[in-house]
Symmetry: D2
Subunit: 362 residues, 4 copies
């Protein structure tokens, strides 16, 4: 019953098999191996972007920070949602890689930037001239940190606002696969066709060991990206182990299949929670994470049964009145089973009188 | 016949097996997995350093740059050999991670910093006051970029010079295993007992997929290291795949066994080349790399036979008179076989009248 | 009728006289001139801080950024008011000088950080661990950007909150003289006795050409400050022209006298505006800047009469209905005369039927 | 008898007069004052560069570092002479402002980069690819740190070499006036016509209090320069005091007249030293600094008489045998008088038997 994060999960067997296959003999290093050529071609096909430059990085933080550094001079500000990973969970990596850019925090419900809030944020910079930091890239996280998704039209609307100010658009797609299978649209529709210039395309959270692709749909800054990646210590010498993971991940639609599984488990969990008296969903469940609130007694019950997850936000405490609701984040992943979800819901139900209702509908 | 670099080699089967074993179920992320605790304990034992702080990073460049950033303020200079990896092959990663420190290039034969050159370099900074960059850490590469090693007494002498100026000492041990088995001394003798404060301990070049340990023998800056690693995008979420590699690498002395193999092949190669009329060793062969020069015709012959290696320095050309000597770097690794070396020497010998002599002695 | 900023004003005659006196013969450079010794002693006396380290910098942005860089590692965040100069008017200088730190914006009425907002901001970082930027210094602007002041007890309360988290405190005193004469307290009471570690003590806005002192009450980081200043290009070779300004500024209480004049003009202006039907003060007038709102027709009238000032915030427009109130910032300085203020109030009064009332009371 | 540096000298009376004239009433700040417009026009005329962007900065270090940051990405290296101010006397300011670029030290006699050494330096980077820092700007100091000058054809030759690699050229003209009057060429001939893209044009060392112009002959990066200057804390609010200095400095050819005086005194000094038995010039005297060596006893004699100057290099000692020659740097400036030089030579001559000969020819 691990719902702590998608990064506590193992790698998918197909990915590991690809890594094992790659472990044969001598091959060129630093991305010059043949497999990287195949990965590039495959991603260009998937994204219908024949000219895109494609690179691999080992972590999502590296992918985001390197991508943003190519889009944002040191004297500009990055527009992101207040809860974005680049703001909250990267210990200032964007600031470091850009050489001291700012992040401007934009609000919006359910983890999505609200257009009117973005317009206000853009407008604020209008009066600044040389004395203030300049406007820089917009970055959108899809799926969001709240387990919701931006639809292609949402992305397009926000990207068009950025475009009007001449600003580039980055997408943090650490969970892009989850967003795509949720929306049923094509990768191109959700990214460059909607105005995204550079994409961090995640693998780690969805069944790889540690690999993210960075896709520059307009490759003018490709060489800059390569230099920044090397200088950041993110160019693997035995790069074959990154390309093998990504090749295995992309083969036969594995990446979609894994995301589909994870999303299905989140739906199962959300349905179960929604049916539980006293519980409610905090955000719509649109990808692989469920945000819900239920009474403290229920939290104690599932934890006693071995469930692992974060109270969200983190300052809440398990100490307190039984019936006070606490909110939580429950993240499903490709390896979460129906049984895991069922066990969680049972433990939660057993902790309170209305348990039967939950089990019946779970 | 791959002698291009140790990083074109595959990972050792034992390392891959450890990675596979680690790919089971959910575990804590970001280094909180149990395996990382075991790695820390194992490295403390190996280095006889029970208080050392131990971290993993995915690349040698990351390990070096993060370590040096903890030792060097932005307004100081790092003393390194003119041919050091941090100077020549990291695209300015130390400058990036330190926030703009300098590197002061120190000379010395065969890739080793000469004490008198270091004293001159230290002395130069004496007059500077506030107008010049300040003295910063000394970094020693062991085994060196020239395939030689510093003995414990060499390290101790240079480290004592640094210590007299209050300067810390870093060791780039991307090939420390090769140096250790060459010298027959203990890890402690070659590092902290000789005055090394922080060590980059390599795994990647010697049989891993991509993992280096950074060992802070004095752990005062451990938390700073953790923050810098995160901020640099080098903290793996699925950290288990780093700790599994390192655990497999350290188990049953594998790391020593692999380095012993690589060094033995380098000795085989050096002996064969030294015996070849017209060839000569450019540097003593003390670890896993051979630097030698022989006539251009011989280079053409081995290349025709499929040998892969770098002319060193790189500006030399295969076009030119047959008998002009060109120098080359030939790197052996754990997977290099006796047959590989034999085939190389045969191809080289066959390319010239005196081939028999080579084969006879190879 | 210049109320645009205190930095449109000339230097005081006494300051210029001191500069002229300093322009004699050869003297040591880079702060080694005798005058700098006298400045240091004088500031130590004024602040009752015999051990303080004292430096000069040419601009307020330099003083702030250099001071904060000594207090804030790259992976931390600076707590400042949402409208602070370091956030809004320095084009990211703190981010640049710290090597990529963040600024956390704290709210509070009338330009002053509210204790409860600061506690919330500190609390937010509690859960972060290695994934988020760490807590860094608190910086307080006194007088504030809203023309108000922090009293010694206000500073002490906020500084104590920082101290509980082990965080240092910086004060941006670009207008400290205005705050001091407004409060009638001693320099020590408003700074180090209240918990301030490092102070930017302004001269430029209050009658100098361009000089600010940075006072490190605890001098442990003095050498670091010197290196950062040099490296930032702020160490003047002909430093005598900075020390002469500061010496002239401090002599015979000139700095207090100039601030007293500026504050008196602001009070005159505030009284006049407060008496004007349809006008209101937006913030209390506690230093040398008046924030007030009055109908657009009045703005048109004073501008036609030659008044110079900013609408504040800047996105307001002079185009629109006559009776809609627009808010403005009016900054007085040492050279503002009673006649300037009178003329402004007259022009404003003449622009509307109730002009007589204004003139009568101005 | 101050020959320590040109920065120990006072400002010229005409420059101070201009500053005093500027100290009248309110004017726009941050470079929007009318005087800055006049300075820009005047420098465009002087340099025959009607499109050039012109900015002022308070120090030479700021001017150089800001200029180089506009020409050099963080992952590149700046080619400079081994003794350049940017390398030796700026505490890493170029590294700081560029975000971590390198400096590649190029040799050449008498402070001038030798073309063959530059070609070697350029060639070294050829093999690097993504692993090494990339080639960046060439910076030439004119007059050099050795008191010599580059002629227009010298600049053109080196700049053409840079141009062949697509690299921009910066000139550190902290003493450009001295070089120009020495060469008798036009400012255009020595700068943009010879291939210089960006110039630091010094005022401080030649009679100003503290002001340097940065001239971007190709203004494409002008806005970037403005942002970097602000962010670096170098945009003066009361900018009028920078523009007034520069306006006074440029009026009626003052800048040339001051440099002519300084150079004449250096020639007087060089002639006197050259005539002194046992003394010799270390570098040709082509601008306002004399580098000469003479016996230690002579050094003691002139110091006893009150002469101030640096032994150069600095590690030499006044303690030792009387007849051992020590080398020194003697810098003349606009305010050095014939009498100062005469007194120095007399003191030197009086310290040794051959004093008469010196006095006779001085």
């Amino acid at each position: 019953m691990w719902f702590v994060s998608d990064n506590t999960s193992p790698a998918a067997p197909e990915v590991m098999a690809a890594v094992l296959r790659a472990n044969q003999g001598h091959v060129a290093s630093y991305g010059a191996e043949a497999a990287m050529g195949r990965v590039t071609e495959r991603l260009r096909e998937i994204f219908e972007a024949p000219d895109a430059a494609v690179y691999l990085a080992p972590t999502g933080t590296a992918a985001n920070a390197l991508a943003l550094a190519c889009l944002c001079p040191p004297w500009a500000t990055i527009y992101c949602h207040r809860t974005a990973h680049v703001e909250e969970d990267e210990c200032g990596a964007p600031e470091f890689y850009t050489g001291g850019a700012k992040l401007t925090l934009v609000d919006g419900p359910h983890g999505r930037i609200a257009p009117e809030s973005l317009e206000t944020a853009f407008g604020f910079a209008a009066r600044a001239g040389v004395h203030n930091v300049q406007r820089g890239p917009l970055t959108l996280t899809n799926a969001t940190e709240a387990g919701t998704v931006y639809r292609p039209e949402d992305v397009a609307r926000l990207a068009a606002m950025a475009r009007r100010h001449g600003l580039p658009v980055h997408m943090d797609g650490a969970r892009l696969a989850n967003a795509l299978v949720s929306l049923g649209c094509t990768p191109a529709e959700l990214t460059w066709r909607a105005g995204v210039d550079v994409l961090s395309f995640g693998g780690t959270k969805n069944g790889c060991m540690g690999v993210e692709a960075v896709i520059l749909f307009e490759p003018a800054r490709a060489w800059e990206f390569e230099l920044r990646r090397k200088r950041g210590g993110h160019l693997f010498s035995k790069h074959r182990y990154l390309s093998a993971q990504m090749e295995g991940y992309l083969a036969d639609g594995l990446w979609r299949a894994l995301a589909t599984q994870a999303n299905a488990r989140a739906q199962q969990l959300a349905r179960g929670l929604a049916a539980l008296p006293g519980a409610r969903l905090v955000h719509p469940t649109e990808a692989n994470a469920v945000f819900a609130a239920w009474p403290r007694a229920g939290h104690r019950a599932v934890r006693a049964a071995g469930a692992q997850y974060y109270l969200w936000p983190g300052h809440q405490s398990l100490d307190g009145p039984d019936d006070e609701p606490l909110s939580a984040r429950l993240v499903c992943n490709w390896s979460t089973t129906e049984g895991d979800v069922e066990a969680f819901l049972q433990a939660l139900g057993a902790g309170r009188p209305a348990a039967e209702a939950v089990r019946a509908r779970g």
